[in-house]
Amino acid sequence: MSTAAAPSMEHGTSSFGVYNLKLGMWVFLLSEVMFFTGLIGSYIILRFANPDQFAVPGAVLNVPLTALNTFILICSSVSMVKAFADVQAGNQAGLKKWLLVTALLGMVFLGIQAIEYTVLASEGFVPMAERYAAHGRAGGHETLGGPLYGTTFYTMTGFHGTHVSIGVACLWWCVFQAYRGRYTANSHGGIEIMGLYWHFVDLVWIILFTIVYLI
């Protein structure tokens, strides 16, 4: 039997030129694409079937606030990619700085989303609401949407928020590891896949923001 010296676990015989961890993350993101397809697809289908249940943009949801949130998430993406560029260049200080910024921006995003939820809930806009009126903004008590509006809004933004929360937790872990000197110019797979996940979450938000808030 002919054998050869075993390559290390991370190398393998690669036909894609992409190391395991990164390939695994991409493959995982594909399943995430299908997960959000299920959610967004259901939203589109329910909305087509019941257009009267969905309020016009801005009538219930606070678009300026969410636009600010979108901006924050985009900023966190650029800080994430800077962290990656810095660790590649061997700039440890830059890595730590940008990772911290990213984690903090992620937390700001979650905070704003929490505020948004609280205000909406206080106006009677909850996932299981039969009918609700947006007090204050739209003026008066007229009915602005049906039960499916709250159902789909909270499910979609909630799942995105869950993804951001997981991302923030992982970012803090990366910050911790960065301070321990875990990442070097030659070994930083963790930062790269962290970045992939984080940008993916950003990408999903870009789609969600348009579909849920603007259309």
């Binding site: 002919s2 393998g12 036909s15 299920g38 259901s42 299981m128 499910t155």
Partner: protein
């Protein structure tokens, strides 16, 4: 490599302390792909047994219902006294328990028996061994995948014990029956069902990320795509199907869970939700799932038939492309499960055509298996018998799919026992026979001992005969108009007239179940007392047979095999034996002009 002669079992066994890994890390929270595969095997064989028991109880009720007005005296359920009054009262099964049996039999068999037996066990066990890798790409994620599946299984079992009993809305969980306990009488059980399947979905996802990454990145030197054994090819396509289909189901299940618990409205018609949306999401997952449940078995069977016939697989490339084609077309056929659901009839026409087209790659595979045995030199060992039976029965299961695919013919056949017969020919006659073939074939590699051939052949013969006697008559029950999931079929005069067939089926099913005890005994006995197997008891070619039996952690130690040829080089002219390991270096000897 010194462990080669020492068989070690996964069960608690004294040999564990030969190596210096603590027991709990070696056998319980192990990151070794082989141990994880074996853990999946023990878990899913348990669920297979349980699912079978549930089916026996169902069959008893169908054969011996209490319907005295129509002249059916009924028979008390054997052992029914052991069950609580919420299930069986004075030997009489309650309809709610029957519906729970229907649901849990389907759910357990599909998600906790067949799927892990095909993918959890063999993708874990075979992929690294067949591609020449020391382990999976992400061993710890692999371990988590098993323990999540285990937890999901416990949740599913727990649902039998909660108030209201286990889920009873069918394994397809059609809404709104499954989301409203006013309609089904089951609240917690139905929630546990959704939760458990969601968790199992995460487990499957972790697994398939692992399998795909491993297969792409960790193949041994010389192991090109077209030197992969067909088992591995099938497992790759299966993993891709799981990766892309399961998240859609998980999304649907989560929406269902929210509808059940926090009062959202996705599938509630009274607030504009769409019951058919659930069906679309479920079957968008569900049809790829059907191929998830058959493709790996096709792969194993291809390997085993080539080995038994001592002949290269006929049309290797055609086989690979057929697997890929099934994987692709499988995404656009889901609507045939919904022909009668009230969806747009134009869509019905579209789905009918795509469904029929999928017969083409299936036929390619069947004919290539026939081509493989043609002019072979066939050894009828137990795995070969199961593999050949797979082909014979898959032909029936495939052909009975044709009338179901033709939409107008499906009108009378939909939701009848014809469908029950069809799915069991594919899932039992196909997948389960493939699983038996695979277990008997790779058992020596897993445990270092061969299973008993005589017991194996007796088990095969009984299973083959009584499987057919159980399920073939169901076709006629179905075309005779017997609907599925009826607690008491004698309520309908046109079904009551066929009751003798139902009784016959029940007796055959009981014998079929009893025959599986032979397999259980053979399996357990051979673990400890089976004949010692060498590295390559079947004289096969692929890489796993170059490792010791059982392979140690890391499979080949600090070396990896180098691959020089395809996996099906049997009976090559000029070779010394009628098989050539994939690692065998080219001799440089010119081939003889004739053979």
């Amino acid at each position: 490599m010194s462990t080669a002669a020492v068989p070690h079992d996964t069960a608690a066994h004294a040999q564990a302390h030969h190596e210096h890994i603590p027991f709990i890390r070696k056998y319980i929270f192990s990151t070794d792909h082989k141990v994880i595969g074996i853990q999946f095997m023990f878990m899913s064989l348990f669920f297979l047994l349980l699912g079978g028991l549930l089916a026996m109880a169902m069959r008893w009720q169908i054969a011996f219902p209490y319907n005295e007005t129509a002249g059916f005296q009924g028979q008390p359920l054997p052992g029914g006294d052991l069950l609580p009054e919420t299930m069986v009262v004075q030997g009489i099964m309650l309809p709610e328990f029957y519906n729970a049996l229907v649901t849990m039999h389907g759910t357990i068999m599909v998600f906790f028996a067949i799927m892990p037996l095909l993918v959890g066990v063999w993708a874990n066990y075979l992929i690294p061994l067949q591609i020449g890798a020391p382990d999976m790409a992400f061993p710890r994620i692999n371990m988590m995948s098993f323990w999540l599946a285990f937890g999901a299984g416990l949740l599913m079992l727990a649902s039998f014990a909660v108030t209201g009993g286990a889920a009873n809305a069918g394994w397809t969980g059609y809404t709104p029956l499954s989301i409203n306990d006013l309609y089904s009488g089951v609240k917690t059980g139905q929630q546990l069902w959704a939760l458990s399947l969601t968790i199992l979905g995460f487990s499957s996802l972790m697994g398939s990320v692992n399998y795909i990454t491993t297969l792409i990145n960790m193949r041994a030197p010389g192991m090109t795509w077209f030197r992969l054994p067909l088992s591995t090819w099938a497992l790759l396509i299966t993993s891709i199907l799981i990766l892309l289909a399961v998240p859609v189901l998980a999304g649907g299940l989560i929406m269902m869970f929210f509808d059940q618990t926090i009062g959202t409205n996705f599938f509630k018609p009274e607030t504009g939700g769409q019951p058919l949306l659930w069906q679309h999401l479920f079957w968008f997952f569900g049809h790829p799932e059907v191929y998830i449940l058959i493709l790996p078995a096709m792969g194993f069977v291809s390997d085993i038939i080539a080995n038994g016939a001592r002949k290269p697989i006929f049309g290797y490339h055609a086989m690979v492309w057929a697997i890929i084609a099934i994987g692709f077309i499988g995404w656009i056929v889901w609507g045939h499960h919904m022909f009668m659901s009230g969806m747009n009839p134009m869509l019905g026409g579209f789905f009918m055509v795509t469904t029929l087209i999928i017969a083409v790659p299936s036929a390619i595979k069947t004919f290539n298996w026939l081509g493989t045995v043609w002019r072979g030199n066939i050894r009828f060992h137990t795995p070969m018998l199961f593999a050949l039976s797979f082909v014979a029965l898959f032909v029936i299961g495939g052909l009975s799919g044709v009338p179901l695919a033709a939409a107008p013919v499906d009108i009378p056949l939909h939701d009848t026992y014809f469908v029950v017969a069809h799915i069991h020919y594919v899932l039992v006659g196909g997948s389960l026979f493939g699983i038996f073939a695979a277990i008997t074939f790779w058992f020596p590699k897993m445990f270092g001992r061969t299973m008993n051939e005589t017991l194996g052949k007796v088990h095969w013969a009984l299973t083959f005969v009584f499987f057919n006697l159980t399920f073939f008559p169901m076709h006629m029950l179905g075309s005779g108009g017997m609907m599925r999931r009826l607690y008491d079929p004698t309520q309908y005069p046109h079904i009551a007239s066929m009751q003798d067939t139902n009784i016959f089926i029940t007796w055959c099913a009981l014998i079929l179940f009893a025959a599986q005890l032979i397999f259980m005994w053979n399996f357990l006995w051979s673990l400890f007392k089976g004949k010692l197997a060498g590295e390559n008891p079947w004289e096969a070619n692929s890489l796993e047979w170059t490792a010791p039996s059982p392979p140690p952690h890391g499979n080949w130690g600090d070396r990896v095999p180098v691959v020089h040829r395809g996996p099906y080089e049997y009976s090559a002219p000029g070779a010394t034996a009628d098989y050539q390991l994939q690692t065998e270096a080219p001799t440089g000897q010119p081939l003889p002009a004739t053979h």
